[in-house]
């Protein structure tokens, strides 16, 4: 007799998908913790000076004269020196709740101006372009997570059609992409599973896992309906963020995930408040808010890190945009983040203070920030951080006091 696999079996949950349930928890002074990390990669080079605005630097208004950013009411106050772009109220609220930490004048070691190469460095974690080996620091982080000896490495999650470089490597990673089509009905899934089990075990395993992952989304149709935060005229970053949060918040969900958003390469008509960049920041803010509310049950043990490959020129160019630069901002958010601060060894924006006379001089190495966060949040060993996670960075001290 023909055996049809029932829905219960098909959607057996994510335990096997992310292979973590039995892994030991990370112990710390505060007791056993079960930390989660989500890295948000902003592709294209975010203009940090329009997101977190150095209003206290007299050179700023001079260099960005005529920009929307110079208008009154364009920012929300952060401290004596910085204001936050007014399109980011959710981030401002997290900042006030001391859950958001902003780092400014940050950069990877990259000093040229190619997106490809800059993203390769940001995601690989290598000190320079080492061609050939295309693996990412977040995958190496997965491999270093403490686990029982015979357990397989925990699986990561990438919200994208393909595993991005930052998540590429030896540790297994699942992908999830928003589906534009209706989900397959259980009956068809079961019939196909039957066929695959007889003819193609690899496809059978993949289909079972894929159906389970989609089952999580499907279980609560409201979660995948048009989210309230999807605002007219804004790019929709929220749907993916809500999905990531939903999968990650599950007890058997992945502990490490990556998501990326494009649209930051604002060469023309940047419009930091009402234009292209303003809309992008508003969409990002909505997504960050969705992450917080989706991850609320585990927010205490979660860090969301937002990074970009480089900043943009300080001066506005001839087409009211900005070109590829160096120093920019990075964000850490989460219940355990020691937030409510802007950490910056501010280099100044006067001509002689700029990198090559045009860019915000980086004074903090992004790798030091990430190493500090990984050490404090995930309990990774500093020795491995400087050797494996971010190769050849032994001399670069992990930043302290970020999380915990």
């Amino acid at each position: 007799m023909r055996h049809l696999i029932g829905r219960r079996d098909v959607l057996a949950g994510l335990g096997s998908l992310f292979a973590w349930s039995y892994a030991p928890r990370i112990s710390s002074a505060a007791g056993a913790r079960d930390p989660r990390l989500l890295v948000v990669v902003l592709r294209g080079g975010l203009d940090g000076l329009s997101a977190v605005v150095p209003l206290g630097d007299p050179a700023y208004t001079a260099r960005r004269a005529g920009s929307e950013m110079a208008q009154a009411g364009a920012t929300l106050p952060l401290d004596d020196m910085f204001g936050l772009n007014r399109n980011m109220p959710a981030l401002a609220e997290m900042y006030r709740a001391r859950e958001a930490l902003i780092l400014h004048a940050v950069a990877t070691p990259y000093r040229e101006r190619s997106h490809f190469d800059a993203q390769a460095l940001l995601e690989s974690g290598f000190p320079n372009l080492m061609r050939g080996e295309r693996t990412g620091w977040l995958n190496r982080t997965l491999q270093q997570l403490p686990r029982g000896e015979r357990l397989p490495p925990p699986r990561g999650l990438a919200i994208s059609p393909m595993v991005p470089l930052i998540m590429s490597g030896a540790a297994p990673v699942e992908t999830w992409q928003r589906q534009s089509f209706r989900y397959a009905d259980d009956d068809t899934v079961a019939r196909l599973l039957d066929l695959y089990e007889a003819r193609d075990p690899v496809l059978a395993e993949a289909l079972r896992r894929g159906a389970a992952l989609d089952g999580v989304m499907q279980a609560d149709p409201e979660a995948m309906a048009t989210p309230a935060a999807r605002l007219a005229g804004l790019p929709d970053f929220t749907t993916d963020a809500a999905a990531a949060a939903r999968i990650m918040a599950r007890p058997d969900g992945p502990r490490i995930a990556a998501i990326s958003y494009g649209g930051w390469d604002t060469h023309n008509d940047q419009g930091p408040v009402q234009g292209q960049l303003g809309r992008g920041l508003a969409a990002l803010d909505a997504a960050l808010g969705a992450l917080r509310s989706g991850l609320l049950p585990v927010w205490r043990d979660t860090v969301v890190a937002v990074v970009t490959e480089f900043g943009r020129t300080v001066r506005v160019n001839g087409s009211r945009g900005t070109d590829h630069g160096v120093g920019t901002v990075a964000l850490l958010m989460g219940g355990a983040v020691r937030g409510g601060r802007v950490l910056a060894d501010w280099p100044g924006l006067a001509e002689h203070q700029l990198h090559q006379g045009r860019d915000l001089m980086p004074t903090t190495d992004l790798r030091a920030v990430m190493k500090g966060m990984l050490a404090e949040h995930l309990g990774l060993e500093p020795r491995l951080l400087g050797r494996d996670t971010f190769p050849d960075s032994e001399a670069l001290r992990p930043m302290q006091g970020l999380v915990g």
């Binding site: 190469d117 393909m162 089509f181 193609d200």
Partner: protein, 437 residues
Amino acid sequence: MTAPVSLTRFGLLAPPGASPRGDGRDDVLAQLRQPTTLPPGHGLPDLVEGLRLHRARAVEVAAARREQRRPDFVHQQEISAAEADFRVTLAVNTRLPLHERLSLHWGNHFTIGTPLSTSYVAGDMDRTAIRPHMLGRFADMLRACTTHPAMLTYLGNDRSVGPNSPVGRRQRRGLNENLGRELLELHSLGVDGGYTQEDVVETAKILTGWTIPERGPDGAGIVFLADRHEPGARTVLGRRYPEGGEEQLLALVEDLARHPATARHVTRRLVRHFLGDGAPPDVAPALARVFQATEGDLRAVTEALVAHPASLSLPPAKLRPPMELVLSVARMMGGRPARPTLMNSLRALGQPWLGAPSPAGWPEEDQAWASPDAVKSRLDWALQLAGGRDPRFDAREVAEAVFGRWLSAETRRTLARAANGGQALALLVMSPEVQRR
């Protein structure tokens, strides 16, 4: 028992009733003897028209900004959609599906992507730089792809200026190393090809001047602008290239194409693409010897690949990448269904048109497309596609007419027991026979 290799390893399935009788190898070999250049009359932009659209867009965007109105121009996406549609129509009607497979393979070897206006001239690159040479000399394809405006814009060479050239001195502009690096790493020698960072910089200097001018009488096609070219002799891989403008690149490309590392890298990729990760270790070196002996004659190399016993003995291993799947299903169904649209299909299946994640192109590992979400998305897509089928379409009949005795008993039984015609078609599309090659 596996289906003929002309449907699987070297093909894109077939319309019902068109499958060969035997193992399909002779059918594949016969296709290798046919010319690969597409006849004109397809109505898609050639290089001149593509560059005109590209410039017209820039002019219109600037004018619209001045006049504070919405710009009106032929959008890149319109051209991309037409180009992608053209490829499906070509695949559905062709008697040379191997040529479509070769065009996809070499298009991935010489990956170009969406940035800037690459899409206006991407189709031309396939038609003029890849197809005419994919069974010809590798050196010719390497030269044609390296200097094609689609590649020049994709890897930023159009903005690369020799720092000591007249333009470089006047505008204080400099080198962009991207194309130089990828030419060595991805397109010719391979990452283990023994070159250094110094070779990359020297290659980038040799490449300065190859660009697309914004306007002017020479603005019609591939151009070399001497006033951007870094003056002086260059040394790459220990070989000296005397000062000589565009001749420097042409000489370098000939040498790269003849290099043993290139023979090794190019044939390795070819073997991996067609035979899979499990190819016996002697196949690629055997092909590399043919490559070297024939100075990169791709017809001879491809023939050696098809004729190798492993081509027949290895079972289908690879999941068809989404583009191949879409083309194969369209051939099997006798035409592309109107819905879901081609662009949506490719995006949902994870291989958006011109959207490769990096210059290294789409991944080649056997299981690259077998991730859980990807497989599930294929099923969601298949059901969507089945929902819009012609009601007379009978998946069981089509399966017999395409695969006949090569259809597995399990697939035949699964189709026979399907709850309805739509489900049957979706299950056929998802069967291992269609999914793997």
